[in-house]
Amino acid sequence: MVFSSIVFLFRFLPIVLLIYYLIPNKCKNLSLLFFSLLFYSWGEPKYFFIMIASICVDYTLSLIIDNNRDKKLLCKVALLLSIMFNLGMLLFFKYYDFFIVNINKVFGLNISLLRLILPLGISFYTFQTMSYTIDVYRGKVKAERNIINFGTFVTMFPQLIAGPIVKYTDINVELKERKINYSQIQDGAETFILGLGRKVLIANNVGMLWDEVQTLGFSNISTPLAWLGVLAFTFQIYFDFSGYSLMAIGLGKMLGFNFPQNFNYPYISRSATEFWRRWHMTLGSWFREYVYIPLGGNRVGPFRKYFNIVLIWFLTGFWHGANFNFMLWGLMFAVLLIVEKRGFNKFLDKYRVFSHIYLILMVMLSWVLFSLTDLGQVAQLYKKMFIFTGGLDFIYYIRNYFVILVIAGILSTPVLKNIFNKVSKDANWIRISVTAIILILSVAYLVDATYNPFLYFRF
């Protein structure tokens, strides 16, 4: 199930919340676990058992670690098993076919593909459970002895399929004891609605423009339209993803959990370094904590330092999808980060306007790599963007999408949010009406939804 659907808004959510608020605290986690499993199995009942296996394996292995602190070897073996299990699942479901295709190509073999449907959210929950075992091993937290609590952590429906990546240490206290009050629920509802609006009203809308440019074919369009298309995708990916994260955070709040922030206006960044501090923050910090720092981080020799950066961004890219374009996308950022670290950032610091243009341009170019799995298409689009082709085709699309692109542009900066926060102090009703209008419009768009893709199914 996805949040941006009538079924979720007018069946699942009200029923879950009603039951959740009415039952005593003792049973809240159990009900959350139950509903999360329902949420997860809704579209793909087959993968219910993968989830159960995931819970049981990490629960058991972490207990073994926690109960045998003095037996170093046993702990190591248990940790290794957990990591192997989680990565194994991810490799098997997400990357198996990719490797086989390429092995077949290189060695001229004909090994058959599995063509598995990627279990929802597997990229997210495998990372979450892995971090849990690692943290238990490191002694940062005690193992969770109550399997219902643990299962709730793994499956919790708000963040199950598209993040943010919530580490066990982020919510272990709240899992056992949390206060739910009106003001928090109200905050959560507001955050959820704002996220819903971002996804349904903006991401879906500009996404149609990108889709159209693709259907027209990159060889048939003018250069301005090519740029317009890439701009549309730039907004789509941001509003889709950040909208979904916001919905998750809002739902979490309504249930009494504080999930970490995942986006902080990435498009106002002035360098790739800053961009990655503002984009998909929980993924960035996950890689930093569990891969980059264990590898020595930047407290190593210069060569090793750059190698680490390349490795991390290669993995970050590959995590997004089993394809070469995602690797290239990650590597592109590795190169930018290294160039900036070598001194370019000092230059960027001095020139404000230039640094903004530089960053947004690089990000847009990177999204070309990200959005097209076919590298031939990538080349074609780059060519179209940089070798000028005239034409009037863009006029039609500008006319149709001008307003929404301007709105998306403004909402990519904190300007409106600052006004929103100031206004609400004196005139709360404005804030409430705006939120209500967003909710109503979102529902209208969902009822007549011809275009409501979910970009994260492949993650």
Binding site: F10, I193, L216, Y396, A444, V447
Partner: protein
């Protein structure tokens, strides 16, 4: 209890929370108890009804998609929500919705930018085979351009759509080597009349007038006299909103008028059912008014006529028309020229075409499709069965 009461009283300090929960809860409850609708007049389509649950279907993931469609299509005040979306799109400056472009003068136009080349190839081959199978037949082949091709002037600036002219030329070239087939140039014909009301504004079909020009062209090609519409009694039906409107749901769409002429026939057979009229008059009162013409798309329709303009003493004149729904408003004219008109719609065809071809000795055979249907229709292969 008092504690509980106090808690509820405090809620009034949280207006947004109240609003949100009242909204989703009340809509959920009313939506569940309100009765389901079978048909959407606005969208001209049947709506999903409660799907039957079974464990088997759930596991195979056949239940959930249906259930989600059911919830969506039966959602409370569905039409009002759709209207709201249509309005907000309008204020955003959008000139299209759901693949339908808003052209000048109230014309809604199909936004075809890419086509299914594979199916097109298959269809070209099917017709080729048909032509080869019946080398004695006198076959006319016509592709009807869709409105966006003819009414290019009405398209918004900068919008490039698929080039039907090139496609028609290519398809016609495929058949140019056969002696038993003539292609009819409807594109030039329609272009000549582009300033007249030859296509509906809200529907994908041509108007009765558009069909009339095509009819004249066909009659000229078979060297027969054609009927003059000025001699016929004209009827107008107002307030027609067609298929394009159903898709786009444009809140301020303009209505179309449907013209039909009084046509006298002996009888009309659709399957085993016999009709006295060529029109299904009841349909003029409902949303899908175009379905009035020859009772919509049916398998084989045989119309027997009272007297034709081209009467031949020794033999009954017969025509076969293999068509899509564009043919429906075209057929009434043919009743003036042939004793018997056979109308075949391959989309709902259960009879073998070869049987019909063998048992009836047709003077003329007309294969007539709109370009978009000719590209996409998967049933053309049946012409060769």
């Amino acid at each position: 209890m008092k504690n509980y009461f106090n808690k509820i009283k405090k809620l009034k300090n949280y207006p947004l929370l109240l609003l949100f929960f009242t909204f989703i809860l009340s809509f959920t409850i009313i939506d569940i108890i309100s009765p389901d609708k079978e048909f959407s007049d606005l969208e001209n389509k049947f709506l999903q009804m409660t799907p039957e649950f079974s464990y088997d279907k759930f596991v195979k993931n056949e239940y959930v998609p249906k259930y989600e469609r059911y919830i969506n299509e039966q959602f409370l005040f569905r039409n009002k929500w759709i209207n709201l979306k249509s309005r907000s799109e309008f204020y955003l400056g959008k000139t299209e919705n759901n693949g339908i472009v808003y052209g000048k003068d109230g014309y809604l136009l199909d936004k075809t930018q890419n086509i299914n080349e594979k199916q097109l190839k298959r269809n070209i081959e099917s017709i080729k085979k048909f032509i080869e199978m019946y080398s004695d037949a006198n076959i006319k082949f016509a592709l009807i351009p869709n409105s966006y091709e003819v009414l290019k002037e009405k398209l918004p600036l900068g919008l490039k759509l698929y080039n039907q002219a090139g496609l028609i030329e290519n398809v016609y070239n495929e058949y140019s080597t056969y002696d038993n087939v003539t292609t009819l140039d409807f594109l030039s014909l329609m272009n000549e009349h582009e300033n007249e009301y030859i296509y509906y504004k809200t529907d994908h079909h041509w108007t009765t007038l558009g069909a009339y020009y095509a009819y004249i062209d066909f009659m000229k090609s078979v060297d027969k006299q054609y009927v003059d519409v000025d001699d016929l009694k004209t009827n107008e039906v107002e307030f027609f909103l067609g298929t394009y409107y159903s898709k786009a749901k444009k809140f301020n769409a303009q209505f179309d008028d449907i013209t039909y002429y009084d046509v006298e026939i002996a009888n009309m057979l659709i399957g085993d059912k016999e009709y006295k009229d060529i029109y299904d008059y009841e349909k003029f009162n409902v949303r899908d008014k175009y379905a009035a013409f020859i009772y919509g798309n049916n398998d084989l329709t045989v119309i027997k006529n009272k007297g034709s303009l081209n009467k031949s003493e020794d033999k009954k004149t017969k025509v076969l028309i293999i068509k899509d729904s564009f043919g429906n408003s075209f057929v009434p004219y043919l009743t003036y020229n042939y004793d018997e008109v056979y109308v075949l719609d391959l989309r709902s065809n259960s009879k073998k075409v070869s049987e019909i071809m063998e048992t009836c000795d047709f003077d003329d055979v007309l294969i007539m499709y709109s370009v978009n249907n000719f590209i996409d229709d998967v049933n053309l292969i049946r012409a060769t069965y």
